[in-house]
Symmetry: C2
Subunit: 132 residues, 2 copies
């Protein structure tokens, strides 16, 4: 049975306290304020376990590093190519898509990931472009 460690609790709490979809090392720095000698490996291991359990979401944007989200409700993301930020979208979730793909392919579909890429409103306003 899975044991309840302070480290795992702190990771969940810190991740739940933000909406910024932090990376593993950002979470590491957040948790270190509470548990100064926590190991980066511990953060990675717990994030993986939690994501595998479905307790948190792992977001793969392709911009180098994985990001994590404590909000496990079905939703989609936007990733800004200029500042690198990832934000939630209030787009309706299409659960039926999974069923469509199953019928179309015979595969067993577990989930899908929909990510939009571009320049966020802030970056557009500031005239930034291209450079992360």
């Amino acid at each position: 049975m899975r044991k309840f460690s302070q480290q795992r609790a702190a990771i969940i709490e810190e991740l739940s306290s933000v909406t910024s979809h932090p990376t593993a090392s950002e979470i590491y720095n957040m948790v270190r304020r509470r548990i100064p000698n926590i190991s980066l490996g511990t953060v990675y291991r717990n994030l993986s376990m939690l994501a595998d359990d479905g307790a948190i979401l792992r977001i793969t944007t392709g911009e180098g590093t994985e990001r994590f989200d404590a909000d496990t409700s079905d939703h989609y993301h936007f990733c800004c190519s200029s500042c690198g930020r990832v934000s939630d979208l209030a787009l309706p979730f299409c659960g039926e898509l999974n069923r469509s793909v199953e019928e179309m392919t015979g595969a067993h579909v577990q989930r899908h990931s929909l990510i939009f890429y571009g320049e966020c409103a802030d970056c557009v306003a500031l005239g930034r472009s291209g450079t992360a």
Copy 2:
């Protein structure tokens, strides 16, 4: 102006000859049959340039390594968690989604990526599960 090198031509040709969405090192091995001393760095650099130019597609599945696709038409992908294969889906493409997100957020949306995850029909039939 961008120069047309044999290496780049070979990379495009090899990638166009398959529908398997190979990784950079798979493409490296394919091209090496024709240009034995081509460098892995050359493959990576050309794949990046081609993807940036929109001449090929870069597919980020989150299963460790990036994959590439010579088919640049708008389409979606399925990624099998058991065998790791990535396949094309004949799902209708929703270009209007980009516009919706723009109106909703004020961002400038360039593209979106929709990937389905699960166990492909072959793996379901063979009773494999979980292990890549």
